[in-house]
């Protein structure tokens, strides 16, 4: 009897352990940092929230049409991804979001796993940053912060992704690709190399 109870306890213990492992796996495959931007949704005139885990991405990939050039590119890009999380807010007026809103995110991206590869700040109040997450020399995630006076976008792509291919998509979707930037942008590059910087890692 004691032996039986011991087995029951052991099974229960294993079940708990399995649950913990599953929970850990679920959390591990989820977002790599927390956005904590829910409070901005109330102020925003337009909000986009996308949270797609790996299984949903692979499920969606089955519905992407390879004959469509845009969808074919996206299909190839999401092949190795385990998540994509986007929060984008548009505001009617300036000053609805503050630097404090982004500090929480930036603090999470200060860990050794993350490295800032691009930081662009313009006189018009635009701040753009791209961070890469590497584990054992392999790219495992990308974070993008794009802040404008009336717009704020934060993205976390979980998994390896080719940023150049991603940027090329910007020229698709019927949106003109910005190959020729304005001459007097007054932009300051932070963290960019002295030679011609590229988003290749």
């Amino acid at each position: 009897m004691t032996r039986l109870c011991g087995t029951c306890f052991s099974l229960s213990k294993w079940a708990k352990l399995a649950c913990l492992v599953l929970c850990f796996a679920a959390v591990a495959s989820a977002q790599q940092f927390q956005f904590n931007l829910d409070r901005l949704a109330a102020k925003a005139s337009d909000t986009v929230e996308v949270s797609l885990d790996g299984s949903t991405l692979q499920f969606a990939a089955k519905f992407l049409d390879s004959k469509d050039p845009d969808q074919d590119k996206v299909k190839k890009l999401i092949a190795g991804l385990t998540g994509i999380y986007v929060r984008s807010f548009e505001f009617q007026k300036t000053g609805e979001w503050t630097a404090v809103d982004l500090e929480g995110i930036r603090n999470q991206l200060k860990t050794p796993d993350w490295s800032k590869i691009v930081g662009v700040k313009s006189n018009e109040g635009e701040t753009d940053e791209i961070y890469l997450r590497k584990e054992n020399g392999k790219l495992t995630g990308v974070a993008v912060i794009a802040a404008e006076p009336k717009e704020l976008t934060v993205v976390n792509i979980v998994g390896p992704i080719d940023l150049d291919s991603l940027a090329e998509l910007g020229g698709h979707f019927h949106i003109p690709k910005m190959d020729t930037p304005k001459k007097d942008t007054g932009k300051q590059i932070k963290g960019a190399a002295s030679s011609r910087p590229r988003l290749i890692y």
């Binding site: 089955k62 519905f63 996206v74 662009v120 313009s122 993205v155 698709h172 979707f173 910005m178 932009k187």
Partner: protein, 93 residues
């Protein structure tokens, strides 16, 4: 005769039915039989087809929704990354 035999004899001894037993049996036999409702096979088959179709339709709907979300996420991200890349390249030139 031991107790076991006595018990067996008592248990297996013939017992006369109640007086109105035959009448009750006849009365019950004359009562209309309650029909047992059976689903027609075609209806069951149709139900299976409808359920399977609804399942496939829901799967398609979820897939299309997920696809739209993926396309939207990539649209937003690619536009931002493209803009950042252009800004970086512009400064480097």
């Amino acid at each position: 005769m031991d107790w076991l035999e006595r018990e067996l004899k008592g248990a297996l001894s013939r017992e006369e039915p109640p007086v109105d037993f035959a009448a009750r049996v006849l009365r019950r036999a004359e009562m209309p039989v309650r029909p047992v409702y059976r689903w027609p096979r075609w209806l069951a088959a149709a139900a299976v087809i409808v359920l399977a179709g609804a399942g496939l339709g829901y799967r398609q709907y979820r897939g299309e929704m997920a696809k739209e979300q993926v396309m939207q996420a990539f649209k937003i991200t690619s536009v931002k990354v493209n803009r950042i890349q252009s800004a970086v390249e512009g400064v480097g030139k």
